[in-house]
């Protein structure tokens, strides 16, 4: 691991740890300041119930995103959230502008910068939104704009996913076809309610299919070389 990567991990780990402590400090110090007794039994039972739902999602996301956004991008994304709808699109768009590959040193650096900028913008917008909520809400919820905000996710995912699928049809057609069959067969709601397991399934399918194509490509190259040597 390079000196730079070691530094990214050092800063990422220390800052994430501080944020964890500060986050847990909010309920802890609130109960101290307001002298309220907490029912720990029920609280821990609730933590356990919620953890059972969201814990596996965290582990799946941990394994899935790193090769795409790099370590710095992952430290940042996992403390600000909104990974799929903001951080990954910001990183992908940044890499495209800089003309760098996913997973390369250059790609990781640009992903990290793009995600950090995205986090800063969201934090600033949320602060303004919190202060001016009463004034902004009628505008944001107006009947004219409401359909646009209700469709932010389809717009982001369309802009992000469509080019990825059509530009590499050789690799994408099979996983995309299986996704269509499962969505239509199970219904969209059922498919999305199982997003965690679906993510594992499709990462596996895509990797396996891509590996098959890679091996076949290598075999064909070797075959062509043999033929040209004989000739």
């Amino acid at each position: 691991m390079s000196e730079y990567n070691r530094k990214v991990h050092l800063v990422g780990r220390i800052s994430s740890f501080l944020i964890i402590v500060a986050l847990l400090g909010v309920p802890f110090l609130t109960s101290l300041f307001f002298k309220e007794e907490i029912d720990w039994g029920t609280t821990f039972a609730a933590i356990g119930s919620v953890l059972m739902v969201f814990g596996p999602v965290a582990v799946i996301e941990f394994l899935s995103y790193l090769p795409i956004i790099g370590a710095g991008g992952q430290y940042l994304s996992f403390v600000t959230g909104n990974v799929m709808n903001m951080k990954i699109p910001a990183a992908t768009s940044g890499r495209k502008i800089a003309g760098v590959e996913t997973g390369s040193d250059e790609g990781d650096a640009i992903s990290m910068i793009s995600i950090a900028i995205s986090s800063l913008v969201t934090t600033a917008v949320l602060f303004v939104g919190m202060v001016l909520a009463a004034q902004l809400l009628p505008l944001l919820n107006s009947p004219v704009l409401a359909p646009a905000f209700a469709n932010v996710m389809p717009a982001i995912m369309g802009a992000l996913g469509f080019p990825v699928i059509v530009r590499d049809l050789r690799t994408s057609w099979l996983p995309a076809l299986i996704s269509v069959v499962l969505t239509v067969g199970l219904s969209y709601g059922t498919f999305m309610s199982k997003q965690g397991p679906m993510m594992i399934l499709f990462l596996f399918i895509s990797l396996a299919w891509s590996f098959f194509l890679y091996k076949r490509g290598q075999a064909q190259k070797a075959g062509a070389r043999e033929v040209s040597e004989r000739a």
Binding site: K7, S16, I19, I20, L24, G25, V26, P27, T30, S31, F34, I38, D39, A46, I47, V50, F54, G55, A58, F62, A71, G72, Q74, V79, G81, N82, A90, G94, K96, T102, G103, A109, M112, I113, S114, I115, L120, T122, T123, V125, L126, V128, G129, M130, L136, F149, A155, M157, G158, G161, P163, V164, T171, T183, V184, Y188, M192, S206, L207, S210
Partner: protein
């Protein structure tokens, strides 16, 4: 026993919520500086790096607005500052609502929106929201360095690992994009999804044909806005 709103809208809670948010801002600023230094070490074109930064800022504005709506929607149930904290730090709409609602129901309330929630039950809901959300950064603190080392060494060995990241991204899009494009229960969503997708490809094609690099640089946020505008037109 206090009503939860006395705690939830207090200045004390504002200051407590401000601390993690400032740390997140600090972390982002440090990573931007480290990233910029790194791009110089790698001899990357600094004009393109700046363009990527502007693009990220412009793109992030619009998707942040629905999050503001969620903060505002959660305010009657959780007060002013907790929704602000939770959606600024590791937040997501589905997670926050589910965690708070589940906790309040376990305390015998009717869930979020119950006006009679007590102070301790509210603090417990905050414990649950914050306590579970730390799993994400905690996994990073404990395992990311190890996992990154493995991924990096696999990538440096070349071969298939060079193309694996692209394949993983396709897999991700088969979960996040493809189902939305064939969700026949939501025809507006399908039109929005395809409008934005086709717009990116078209804008990139036009930019190549007419040598308009700036058009390609901003094709993503422009396509997103086109998709959202289409939702207004057809709704």
């Amino acid at each position: 026993m206090k009503n939860f709103l006395e705690i939830a809208n207090s200045q004390t809670l504002f200051i407590l919520c401000l601390v993690p948010i400032l740390l997140v801002v600090g972390q982002s600023v440090i990573f931007v500086r480290m990233g910029l230094k790194r791009t110089k070490e790698l001899n990357m074109n600094q004009t393109n790096v700046k363009k990527a930064m502007v693009n990220s800022a412009v793109f992030s504005l619009l998707p942040s607005l629905p999050i503001v709506i969620t903060v505002a929607a959660l305010m009657p149930s959780l007060g002013k500052y907790v929704p602000w904290l939770r959606l600024s730090v590791i937040g997501s709409v589905s997670y926050e609502s589910a965690a708070a609602d589940m906790t309040l129901r376990m305390f015998g309330y009717e869930g979020m929106g119950d006006a009679s929630v007590s102070g301790p039950a509210f603090i417990s809901a905050v414990w649950v929201m914050c306590g579970v959300s730390i799993v994400w950064p905690l996994v990073n603190v404990l395992l990311l360095k190890f996992y990154d080392g493995r991924v990096k060494s696999a990538q440096s060995s070349g071969g298939f690992m060079k193309v694996a990241a692209g394949a993983m991204f396709i897999g991700l899009m088969c979960v996040m994009f493809v189902p939305r494009a064939v969700n026949f229960q939501d025809p507006v969503g399908i039109v929005v999804c395809l409008t934005a997708g086709i717009a990116v490809v078209l804008l990139d094609w036009i930019s190549k044909k007419l040598s308009l690099k700036w058009l390609s640089d901003f094709s993503f946020p422009m396509a997103m806005i086109m998709g959202m505008a289409m939702a207004i037109i057809i709704s």
